[in-house]
């Protein structure tokens, strides 16, 4: 099954674009390649591109399936485009897309950590607490900056929809000039389920999903980690509130936090019953 799908991808891309499968999720396969789809000038020796492919689902009616694939691919593309226009938000650059076949190309972000794992937030937290659990400075910095990303996202009325600690990548791209060595910039990825929303509930759910993710993989330190995330989150709201409508933004923050609390309680009740 999976071999057939990979074969299909290779046929689509032709042998001129060799790919490596790096992730296989319920919704999409993610490949990596070092060939740029259209600009040979940018194919630097160490450049890397991400190809995300949403395969057809056999159990869906073909025309519904095609419409859904196109919709999800475009949602992701549109979000990458919209968010790249919001100052302060980091998302991978869209390179091209083929919504008719479910392909989207984007720039690769992140790197391999010294322990051999990929630099998403989840792996980074494992890595960092294993080398020095008391070097809190580094972790605080990262988590506050991750919280800020989410704060800016929500402040601009976008919600992620699947905010896990593997959908937050840390990049130490020093060539961007804004970054000194050892500084991590968080990038948000995977926008297939994202949307524009003004509802505090949706934002509360985003925060809850991330909190659960941290809790389940880093239970010992989770409480602190989540505090730092929230610290960055609030910071973003406050920074963005310096304008004339700051009072309104502040109320918005309070509404989200209230909802977050409610979603949490609901979750707790459910787990007590279930």
């Amino acid at each position: 099954m999976i071999d057939d799908i990979i074969k299909g991808v290779e046929d689509y891309l032709t042998p001129n674009i060799p790919v490596k499968l790096i992730s296989q999720g319920a919704e999409a396969l993610v490949f990596e390649t070092n060939v740029h789809p259209y600009n040979p000038y940018t194919t630097a020796s160490n450049a890397s591109y991400i190809i995300k492919y949403r395969p057809a689902k056999k159990y869906r009616h073909p025309s519904i399936d095609q419409a859904l694939t196109k919709h999800r691919t475009l949602t992701e593309g549109r979000l990458l485009s919209k968010l790249s226009n919001i100052p302060g938000i980091n998302v991978p650059q869209l390179i091209c897309c083929d919504p008719y076949n479910g392909y989207i190309w984007q720039a690769k972000v992140g790197c391999v950590l010294p322990n051999g794992t990929f630099s998403n937030l989840k792996n980074y937290l494992w890595y960092q607490k294993n080398i020095d659990p008391f070097d809190e400075d580094k972790i605080v910095k990262v988590l506050v900056s991750v919280g800020r990303q989410i704060g800016i996202l929500h402040c601009n009325d976008y919600v992620h929809g699947d905010l896990t600690s593997s959908n937050i990548l840390l990049d130490n791209n020093t060539s961007s000039g804004t970054n000194s060595a050892n500084e991590w910039s968080p990038y948000l990825i995977d926008f297939g389920l994202s949307s524009y929303s003004t509802m505090p509930e949706d934002k509360g759910v985003d925060l809850y999903v991330l909190e659960r993710a941290i809790l389940s993989t880093h239970s010992l330190f989770a409480e602190k980690y989540n505090q730092w995330l929230l610290q960055g989150y609030k910071q973003a709201y406050c920074e963005m509130s310096l304008g004339k409508d700051d009072k309104e933004r502040y109320t918005k923050l309070e509404q989200v936090l209230k909802r977050f609390e409610e979603v949490r309680l609901r979750g707790r009740k459910r787990s007590m019953i279930g």
Partner: protein
């Protein structure tokens, strides 16, 4: 420059940048300078921000051609539509195409896309611009100069304020070159979908 996109190896793309043109042609002249197997498109070079800008529109045209449908006559002209930020064909040709009222166009990109299998007459080794060159130079003017299509040459001739207007790029998004190019690529890739 003669280029093949890795995903579409059956086609060759020839891109030539001309500066110092003294364009006097009519639409009719432009048409007659195209040949059937390898139609030419004439593009206002000053509205092209970078190599990625044009190449990303070419890639999009191939995707439409192969998996959806062309909205214009052929692949070369489709690139002009793909360059534009909306699906309005006549606006696209006005902004990016060279036509009878482009009398002051100094910088022109001549684009040809042809199927390798069907175009034996095209000899890339001896003749970079393909067939009908006499006519081509009549249209572009005797003094026109052929530059290499690359970022360094495009930077010299691009009209940034015009480009920002076409793509409705706001001031806060044009703080650096990367960001402008990014806005352009986003709008080309998502246009009309």
């Amino acid at each position: 420059m003669l280029l093949v996109l890795p995903q579409f190896p059956d086609y060759s793309i020839s891109i030539n940048l001309f500066t110092n043109c003294n364009y006097k042609g009519t639409t009719q002249a432009l048409t007659s300078c195209s040949v059937e197997q390898a139609p030419r498109a004439f593009i206002k070079a000053s509205n092209i921000y970078s190599t990625s800008h044009l190449l990303c529109a070419i890639y999009k045209s191939f995707i439409e051609y192969k998996y959806n449908r062309l909205r214009t006559k052929n692949l070369s002209t489709e690139v002009i539509l793909s360059l534009y930020s909306s699906s309005n064909i006549s606006e696209a040709f006005k902004q990016f195409g060279v036509n009878s009222d482009s009398v002051d166009t100094d910088n022109i990109i001549v684009l040809q896309i042809f199927n390798n299998k069907k175009s034996e007459s095209y000899d890339a080794n001896t003749n970079a611009y393909g067939i009908d060159n006499t006519l081509l130079f009549e249209i572009l003017g005797k003094n026109s100069e052929n530059l290499e299509f690359n970022d360094a040459n495009l930077i010299k001739i691009r009209d940034i304020s015009m480009i920002k207007k076409i793509y409705k790029i706001k001031h806060e998004n044009s703080t650096n070159n990367d960001q402008i190019e990014r806005c352009i690529i986003n709008s080309i890739q998502l246009r009309g979908l």
